[in-house]
Symmetry: D2
Subunit: 161 residues, 4 copies
Amino acid sequence: MSIRIFVTGGTFDKEFNEINGELFFKETNLYELLELGRSQLDVKIETLMMIDSLKMSSDDRNYIINKCKNEKTDRIIITHGTDTMINTAKYVADQNLDKTIVFTGAMIPIDFGSSDGLFNLGSAMGFVQSLSSGVYIAMNGRYFEYDKVQKNIKTGIFESL
Amino acid sequence: MSIRIFVTGGTFDKEFNEINGELFFKETNLYELLELGRSQLDVKIETLMMIDSLKMSSDDRNYIINKCKNEKTDRIIITHGTDTMINTAKYVADQNLDKTIVFTGAMIPIDFGSSDGLFNLGSAMGFVQSLSSGVYIAMNGRYFEYDKVQKNIKTGIFESL
Amino acid sequence: MSIRIFVTGGTFDKEFNEINGELFFKETNLYELLELGRSQLDVKIETLMMIDSLKMSSDDRNYIINKCKNEKTDRIIITHGTDTMINTAKYVADQNLDKTIVFTGAMIPIDFGSSDGLFNLGSAMGFVQSLSSGVYIAMNGRYFEYDKVQKNIKTGIFESL
Amino acid sequence: MSIRIFVTGGTFDKEFNEINGELFFKETNLYELLELGRSQLDVKIETLMMIDSLKMSSDDRNYIINKCKNEKTDRIIITHGTDTMINTAKYVADQNLDKTIVFTGAMIPIDFGSSDGLFNLGSAMGFVQSLSSGVYIAMNGRYFEYDKVQKNIKTGIFESL
């Protein structure tokens, strides 16, 4: 089974700049995570952008939509900042693509010892291989259909609508 | 959705005894891992045993089978040593239970920085929620039906039969 | 041998706020680090402040000076942001206290897997027990007298003057 | 200041063999640890052997003695299993070399998240640069002269005699 991962940035891939002390984006950590998980799947990773999801423009979202449309693999994971993940999922869902598309992310950057990123990636890998066509959010060990979920901005937890 | 996790030991839960320098079993690390993953699922963990899977007896396997039979939740994850994981899966499958049962484990104990355990647990969580009834192995990011998989003992990788 | 550790913040103790995605100060991680190192020394930790060293005022520095003056233990470690660590060390040195005072910090917060904090703390513990009275900087595995060191702001490395 | 590190194995450098599930020695992790600590010292690492200290023979100890004798740098760290670290230190001390020689090790392998190795290495780096000639044990944040220390075999802690 082939899987495509599109990387868009978000907390997931934030790193620490030791010169100015700020968080920033360098390169995605997805390759290292799949190696750590000893993944043996046919996974192709492509970095579409590396941005905070609060800064994602409609141009950015159109770019993501086009990549999903033109992708030959029908199982796609998109890593994305959690703040606007559900928004982007709705845009993608509007295209009615006959594909299984799973958005995931992290509350803590994966360079931290306490990150939820590896767990979330694992669950997204499970969901993308076994759910039927549709657009989903995979967070907190759960999956949600894109239009039946909200992020609780006080707790950071994704909840059913 | 409710999930039951049965813990049986295996590399997953091996810890380091700093007095005698040997690996041993203390308590399962599953609780910490679900907390790390910010899991919001209704998961109940029960430790059935804490043993190397090479030392698992038929009594042990019968105990696992009975726990699966009597379990009211129909979505079960079993953590298990990788050496005889497939054997135990076959025993369980022979019961023809109408449940989704996913075996998972780790090649490296989760107390090591390089462990695949958190990724495997995440993927097992994904598979157990979305696969139909049956007995499966979740390793290396993939899932296998219990009778279509072998462990390559040279590489440690689970492969399709 | 008794050691006093004064905590002032800095990169060392930065944590990740998973709600707003920013770095912030909560409580010091020094207790956990000494436990991790299985330290058996008589160490007392006191948090004086939790701030970025770029925001340290002369009031803050006077407070640190007074704590050093009034401290009965003559071996003191001060954790401090690296940007103005040398400045504060000079203020403290101007007091000509008959104590061994070692400043240390980190380039990467200790909550990151790639942090230099535990190594730096270990080296500061070594230096504070074995150097004669004076004010020192312990970074990069080295120690420097407070007036013979500069931080290279391009590389983040502490160098001899 | 130049420092020589001689590696002899011990818990410090134990790794996990994911095929047979046992701990074993591969290559030393000292290079990675010094990089993690952003060490800027002139340190040369040489692996003399990779063994459990309980299996160290008198031939092995003579080899260590000769390496210490012939070493031009007069500041030496020796990583060593904790079980017989004090024995080897006595052998080395009998040579009355005019050098500062610091033995250190770890209770937990450095590949574990809970290892004390990086802290111990940091403290050994501090002690070796600032103590006068002699043979020392650096463990638990402390240093001991080689003939004034014992390892408490119940707790694993190094204590003053």
